[in-house]
Symmetry: C2
Subunit: 308 residues, 2 copies
C-alpha cells in the first residue's frame, strides 16, 4: 500500500503553524511563521500555499500521496462550504472562500473548521477525552471557545456554531461582552479581564504565566486569584453539566496551565452547584495535546471528511 499523508495547518492570531502528518496523524515535519509577518489576507493565503508546496518538495512526495489539507482558523466557519465568516483577531477576513481558493492553488482537497472544534476533535481522538462519549472541550484565551462531543461525535449544530460555552450568561447586568450581550462567562475569565485583575493585584508588569508560577509557590494572593477564576468557570460549567449530563470537561488554552488550584475550584463549585447525579458523573481535566492540538485536530478533520 502506498503511504498517505495529511497536511495540517493551524492558523492562529499569533502563529501560522504547518505540519506534515502521516496517516496515523504522527507529525513528520513542521514549520511555523508569525501571523503578523504576512501583510494582508492575500499574502497569508500565499504563505499557506507555499508551506504546502514546500512539504511536498522537501519530502519528495507525489501530490497523489496527500489525502488532503486540514485547516483550523480562529473564528466562525461554514465548514461544509469551506467559507471563513470572519476572524476577530486577524484583520481583513470576511466571507473568504478559503477552501475553494486553496483547492485551486494546491490542487489538493482542503477542509476548514473553527480551531476550538479541531482542538475538540484532537482531544477526543488522541488526547484527554479519548474513550469519553459526551465531552465539552473549553479553550481559555482572549476568547473562551469550545466544542462538544455528543455520543462520540463532534456536535456542530445546523450552523457549525455549537460549543460556544464562553457566551454563557452569568449575570444579567454584568459587563458588556464582545458578542453584544452582558455578563457572559468570557467577560469574567477571558484573558483581557483576568490580566486586568492581575495587574491591580501584582503590578502593571505581571503576566498570567507569572501569576501561575506564584500560585505553584503557594503565594496566597495568587492562589486566591486563580480560585476566583475557577469559581466563575465552575458556576457556568454547573449549568452546562445539568443540561448535558457530560462525562468529561477538558480545559485547554493558556489559563489551563494555572495548575491545581484552578481545577480544584472548578470541581468544588460543580459539586456545590450542579445536580447530584450530573455532578458526580463529570470529570474535569486539563487538555493533553497542548500546542499541537490544532495540528492534530486538522488531521482528524481530513480523516472525518474523507470517512477514514
Amino acid at each position: 500500500m502506498v503511504k498517505k499523508f495529511i497536511i495540517a495547518i493551524d492558523l492562529g492570531g499569533t502563529n501560522l503553524k504547518c505540519a506534515l502528518l502521516d496517516s496515523s496523524l504522527k507529525i513528520k515535519a513542521k514549520s511555523s511563521f508569525s501571523t503578523k509577518s504576512f501583510d494582508n489576507k492575500y499574502k497569508l493565503i500565499q504563505g499557506i500555499t507555499d508551506s504546502v508546496d514546500s512539504f511536498i518538495l522537501n519530502q519528495r512526495l507525489k501530490r497523489s500521496a496527500i489525502l488532503g489539507v486540514g485547516i483550523g482558523v480562529p473564528g466562525p466557519v461554514d465548514t461544509l462550504k469551506g467559507i471563513v465568516h470572519f476572524l476577530p483577531n486577524i484583520p481583513g477576513w470576511k466571507e473568504v472562500r478559503l477552501k475553494k481558493i486553496l483547492e485551486q492553488k494546491t490542487k489538493l482537497s482542503v477542509f476548514i473548521d473553527n480551531d476550538a472544534k479541531l482542538m475538540t476533535l484532537a482531544e477526543h481522538g488522541a488526547g484527554a477525552a479519548k474513550k469519553y462519549k459526551n465531552v465539552l472541550c473549553l479553550t481559555l484565551g482572549t476568547g473562551v471557545g469550545g466544542g462538544l462531543i455528543i455520543n462520540d461525535l463532534l456536535y456542530r449544530g445546523p450552523d457549525n456554531a455549537a460549543g460556544e460555552a464562553g457566551h454563557f450568561p452569568l449575570n444579567e447586568r454584568g459587563p458588556r461582552c464582545g458578542c453584544g450581550a452582558r455578563g457572559c462567562l468570557e467577560t469574567y475569565v477571558g484573558n483581557n479581564k483576568i490580566i486586568k485583575d492581575a495587574r491591580k493585584l501584582f503590578g502593571s508588569k505581571i503576566t498570567l504565566e507569572r501569576v501561575s508560577a506564584l500560585a505553584r509557590q503557594n503565594n496566597p494572593e495568587a492562589i486566591d486569584f486563580w480560585s476566583q477564576v475557577g469559581k466563575k468557570l465552575g458556576l457556568a460549567l454547573s449549568g452546562i453539566v445539568n443540561l448535558l449530563n457530560l462525562d468529561l470537561i477538558v480545559i485547554g488554552g493558556g489559563v489551563s496551565c494555572a495548575g491545581g488550584v484552578l481545577f480544584e475550584n472548578i470541581r468544588r463549585t460543580i459539586l456545590l452547584r450542579a445536580m447530584l447525579v450530573q455532578a458526580k458523573r463529570v470529570r474535569v481535566v486539563k487538555a493533553k495535546l497542548g500546542i499541537d492540538a490544532g495540528i492534530i485536530g486538522a488531521g482528524y478533520l481530513v480523516k472525518e471528511r474523507l470517512g477514514r
Copy 2:
C-alpha cells in the same frame, strides 16, 4: 398481519392517565384517575396493573397483541434498568424497580422514562418539533424540566439526566433552589415563584390561568407580568442557544398557555442576548400535543426500545 397495540401510562403528581394506542400511536381508549386516590406506592402500582388488564379485557385483546407498556413518571429514572430513583411530588417512591415489578404482574414488556423526556419524544415524533433535528423541549410547571433532541435522537447522557434546563444558573447570589444551588431558572419561572408574584400584584385569590386571560385582554399589569417571565426564560435560553446552536425550542406546560406576550419576550430576549448566527437560526414555539404528550411519548418509548 395481526394488529398490534401499545399501552401508555402517564403517571403525574395530579393524575394517572392510561391509554390504549394502536401501532401508529392513535389513542383507541383512555382512562384517568386522581393520583391521590391511591393511598400508597403499592396501591398505585396495583392501579397501573388494573388499568392494563382492563384495556385487554374490555377490548378483548390477546396479551400477545400488546407490543409493550410505556410509562412516564415525574422524576429521575434509570431508563435501561427501569428503576424510578425518586418522585419529588409523589411520596414513598425511592429506588423502585418499577419495570421488573410490572413485568411480573402484567407478563408484558415494560419501559419507563422521565416525563419530560417522553414529552420531548412525543413533540419530536408527532408534535411541534417534527422535522427539526436539534431541539430543546421545556416544560414549565412547579418544576422546570426538559429534554434534548440532538441529530434527530433523544439525547439522554450517561445517567439519563440530560435536559435539565430548569437548573441553569441565572444569578450566583439568587434565591435558593430545590436542587441545592442558587438562582436556577426554576427559582425565577417555576410555578411556586410566579404564583407568589402574581398574588402580590393581583390579590391572593388569583390563578395563573386568570393572569393569562387578563394578558389576552390587554391588561397592562398582566402583560408586564408575563413579559418579565419571558425575559428570564429568554436569558437562560440564550446561553443554551449559544452552546447548542438549536433549530427549535418547544415550550409546554401550564405557563406556555400565557400566550403571545410570553413568546414575544422570549424571542426578543434571545435576539438581544444570544450570538447572531444562533439567535437567527432558532425558532421558539408552543408545544402542540398538550395533555396527551405524556401518553404519546410513552408510545414512542416502547417503539424506540423495540426498534420499531
